[in-house]
Subunit: 356 residues, 4 copies
Amino acid sequence: MADSPQPINLFEFEDAAREVLPKAEYDYIAGGATDEISVDRNRRAYASWAFRPRVLRDVSKLDLSTTVLGSKVALPVLIAPCGGHKRAHPDGELATYRAAASCGTAMAVSANANTSFEDLAKAADGMLWVQLYPFRDKAMTQDWLDRAQANGYKAIIVTLDSQWPPKRERNIRNRYQRTRGANYPVGGEHPDAPRPAGSGAGSDPAATWKDLEWIKAATRLPVVAKGIMTGEDVELCAQVGADGVIVSNHGGRHLDNTLATVEVLSEAVAAAKGKMEVYLDGGIRRGADVVKAIALGAKAVFIGRPLFWGLAVGGEQGVVRVLNLLREEIEITMAKCGRPTIASIDASAIVRVPPL
Amino acid sequence: MADSPQPINLFEFEDAAREVLPKAEYDYIAGGATDEISVDRNRRAYASWAFRPRVLRDVSKLDLSTTVLGSKVALPVLIAPCGGHKRAHPDGELATYRAAASCGTAMAVSANANTSFEDLAKAADGMLWVQLYPFRDKAMTQDWLDRAQANGYKAIIVTLDSQWPPKRERNIRNRYQRTRGANYPVGGEHPDAPRPAGSGAGSDPAATWKDLEWIKAATRLPVVAKGIMTGEDVELCAQVGADGVIVSNHGGRHLDNTLATVEVLSEAVAAAKGKMEVYLDGGIRRGADVVKAIALGAKAVFIGRPLFWGLAVGGEQGVVRVLNLLREEIEITMAKCGRPTIASIDASAIVRVPPL
Amino acid sequence: MADSPQPINLFEFEDAAREVLPKAEYDYIAGGATDEISVDRNRRAYASWAFRPRVLRDVSKLDLSTTVLGSKVALPVLIAPCGGHKRAHPDGELATYRAAASCGTAMAVSANANTSFEDLAKAADGMLWVQLYPFRDKAMTQDWLDRAQANGYKAIIVTLDSQWPPKRERNIRNRYQRTRGANYPVGGEHPDAPRPAGSGAGSDPAATWKDLEWIKAATRLPVVAKGIMTGEDVELCAQVGADGVIVSNHGGRHLDNTLATVEVLSEAVAAAKGKMEVYLDGGIRRGADVVKAIALGAKAVFIGRPLFWGLAVGGEQGVVRVLNLLREEIEITMAKCGRPTIASIDASAIVRVPPL
Amino acid sequence: MADSPQPINLFEFEDAAREVLPKAEYDYIAGGATDEISVDRNRRAYASWAFRPRVLRDVSKLDLSTTVLGSKVALPVLIAPCGGHKRAHPDGELATYRAAASCGTAMAVSANANTSFEDLAKAADGMLWVQLYPFRDKAMTQDWLDRAQANGYKAIIVTLDSQWPPKRERNIRNRYQRTRGANYPVGGEHPDAPRPAGSGAGSDPAATWKDLEWIKAATRLPVVAKGIMTGEDVELCAQVGADGVIVSNHGGRHLDNTLATVEVLSEAVAAAKGKMEVYLDGGIRRGADVVKAIALGAKAVFIGRPLFWGLAVGGEQGVVRVLNLLREEIEITMAKCGRPTIASIDASAIVRVPPL
């Protein structure tokens, strides 16, 4: 990063990361299920909305801060729960967390993190959430919930779209082997590689809404359901008392041939009826994407792949730069749309783009 | 197949088959009528529907079995009637049938098969259907119907879209010569190369609905009409007592410039009013395509070109692998959509994709 | 044409013609106005309609004949009026006419033909129409109308879209110089290169509907207006007593940025209210295009560029082959759609194609 | 320009300019904000409308003249306010103004012009408008308004979309440094590079509609608001007494991900309710684009980038040729659409193009 010019946007970050990462790791990060149609659509669908610029509205004082589950963040971009940050940089999750904290935003720690919940909590003075699956192993689940609460984590994300192993063809071709997360008991399975006949720690294919209810009852922390792509499931989340949902197709990494997350957002927001916060991940590469998601009703968005690119290119400082690039682009967009605060970004800021 | 890595999807199967097949045979299999617009659209149209993933619905026990005309198959993917399997592998139809039987599904035997109906019936303990045309030669037709019944075949497919020879430009350029099917009487014509002024065994351009009624009356086996692309013709099939229809444009090999079969499916299903089973062929390459077709009302689908790729790459085992790849992809799709049985796959599993 | 294989479709004819024609002549034939958007759209718009194949309708006896202005033609494809056939072959219009006559169809002779109306009439025993512009020079106009009638021509086409010279950039780059038509008086202007301040033989930019009325009154032959692209102008044609209209944008050679002619056809047919025959030219390359135009209400279609490709590749026999290729493709399409006669090709034979 | 053939359209002008301009200058002119989606869409969106050609309407006398704010121009194409014409040619704004004057149209002088308002006014006998921003510095604003009026300028354009610096990635990569405009007081800031915490001459991010009211009150010249992209802002312009609006997204150079200006035009025209003139800039490259904009309700259009190409290729004569090419193409379009005057170009001249 010292000699070559710094990436000036997230696409250049991806290019730079591709240069330094082993191909199999780059592919693991970049890849998606089967034909990667959903990976591609997640990104391209943002182009379906255009901004409606507004003028003469005093944008001299922009405020990008908002709240997530009642806690303030400096910008509406959070770090998604992604396994194994050490694949991109030896500092792993520690670097990411320090970057997030220094930028005033929250990081969600993956069930498959390379770092223990406890070590991570000590690394900075920011905001942490923890992510888990509806595990078969309820004892381990309770242990994680307790450890999260004891270490000051602010929320629980339950990832619901990993009930069956996906077909990621890049990984198959690369014979890619993942390492186990640091927080599992020794001898447990890979949580995101469940098998129907398996047992133990994996995401349970037999899980039902009762399992999410169990988690909600087992912790005092707010619970956010991740991997929701329909209004029906948003309503079911509300019925079991979830505090939020993340509209997500797992970055196109589990089921291919879905709509883009941003295309599902309005349906999800409508179904939430204001009772739960609705977040989004998938394809965020520009500040413009963030503003569009907020205009469509998202409380905040999460980034996944870009944090790996930041790590690969520059460790903690790389992630800081990724977040700052998004912040600067959000500022421009807010100013040009005449929206000085996050709360002022509503549906009138955008318009559906007609096909050309 | 021994040295190079196994194909991991049907596209790789096609690539591998292209390597081993003579160009003229590859082209015969791949090609379609004139500009091959329908070949292309059959495939691409699946992208017009997206899945609506569902969570927490207990997908630990997936059941892919269904019934076709009352008989159970282990998965909703059948082998379409395609002429001359020996063009892809010396074992020809025997290999295909054994593969189908070992995977628990049915094979439809083409009028132009390289193997006699009798020899094929002895090769495995699976389910066979036979395909014919509305031949001019009623005596031969009756003979085939009787032989099929005597040899335990379960259904008759009557292909209706071959009343006039198509223009397949790859074949014209390659000066491609087809061999005659093994089941025709010596000296008969090519059944799928009829001429208006011709006579004998060919698909009769003068055929009308009375000819289909004649076939229905001439056998106790169920009769399925293949090559149907409109609701009007579905209704006429019902009126003459057909037991099922296959929505098919012959893989884009007869009339170019049609809609994709999957685009016609809803119209056909509505017209069938639940009185006949509706199947589909055309462009199936992924398990996702199968699930979409079922969500739109198909009872099952047929594959054509992929069986030749399987044969070319690995004979019987190649076809087994083709079927298993589809089965695994169907499983993932069903699990991720929260649909543990074929019957649970309904229209709410999909949504029309807006153009980007 | 002797050594290399014969073109098997009109695209191959174009490729073969490009090989033998001087670049400037090829470009003159191929090119259109400014960005050639209309040239491209004329062709591509046919893909907006798909066929609805029908089965079991007795297509053993296909009849492609129809009538134009009351005279029978063997197929619904006529030769459009195109200037200077000698640019493609030394036999020029004589070869084209002989080909049209031997195929049983009509040829429209351009105002800019390289052959005199009289010489052409003697060359074969077919059907000729003549094309002219709303000339400033009424004496010459009357002379042409009289010569056409005296020589057995069957109809007059008046081209109305050439009231102002177009911008054809290929010709500008090639410094292309056209030769004068053989039928103009010595010293007259180029009829299709009018200037507002010019005088004499050119298409008169000051022409109004009174000029078309004048032509109608000046001949007993039926009058067909060419270059019509709106329902309003169809109605005005009817008001002045025209016998037919040709929906045409001059092959995209005059005004760019129009709809395709096939997209305007329904509007034109509706406006004609059955009182005039409606023809179409523009982008016809396949028999399928002809059948689509007829299904949308065209009485017949005209081909322009393909006749030059036929001439360039094989003179009279090349044009015969172009027409025969279209005939064979029309036959296939009619048979597969279950439409044994031209009259049976109605709107139910096609369906609008949804965007993919 | 002497040796190589003259560009025959504006695309060739761009190509020729790219040859002679330093890359950083070419990029500065060509580039836009972030992904340049709006740059591209501005251009491509014209293809969403097609012409409806009309015949026999007497187009022998075409009149391209119209009025802007009550003053006559010979054609409905004006020179947009663009900074620093000397980057393309040493004669800079003097050359552009002489070209505009000789073609009978108006030039808007940028706040960042390389030439003083006074020097420019003396260079020709044409029509000048001046452009400024809602500056923080009201004294300088008053000075500019007074100088414009004293030097015979006819209107004031206030650019409203530059309240925040854009992200132009080509400039970042090229480390592009702009020079200051000739009309700013020594020591003032760059007007189009404002910073929230800055002070002085820059476009004030704190500006509100009161600032536009102030400008309107501070001059007797008509005031035109530039950078309007919504009906709401058109209405607000009317409320503060603006005399016109320019629908503009600054050539895609400020906020990316907007609709094309031509797509917003109808909304703007409707909101203006005939009380203000509505102009447009963005993507004009063909006379056809001009006619489409007028058919959608624009009073006239502005060109920006093409004037730099004209300057780069041939100085004053290059700009003359750019304007003449547009004029010739407008003439062809008007003639072929049967619209002999600007006033006769209404909505019936065009039709929305269906997607192919």
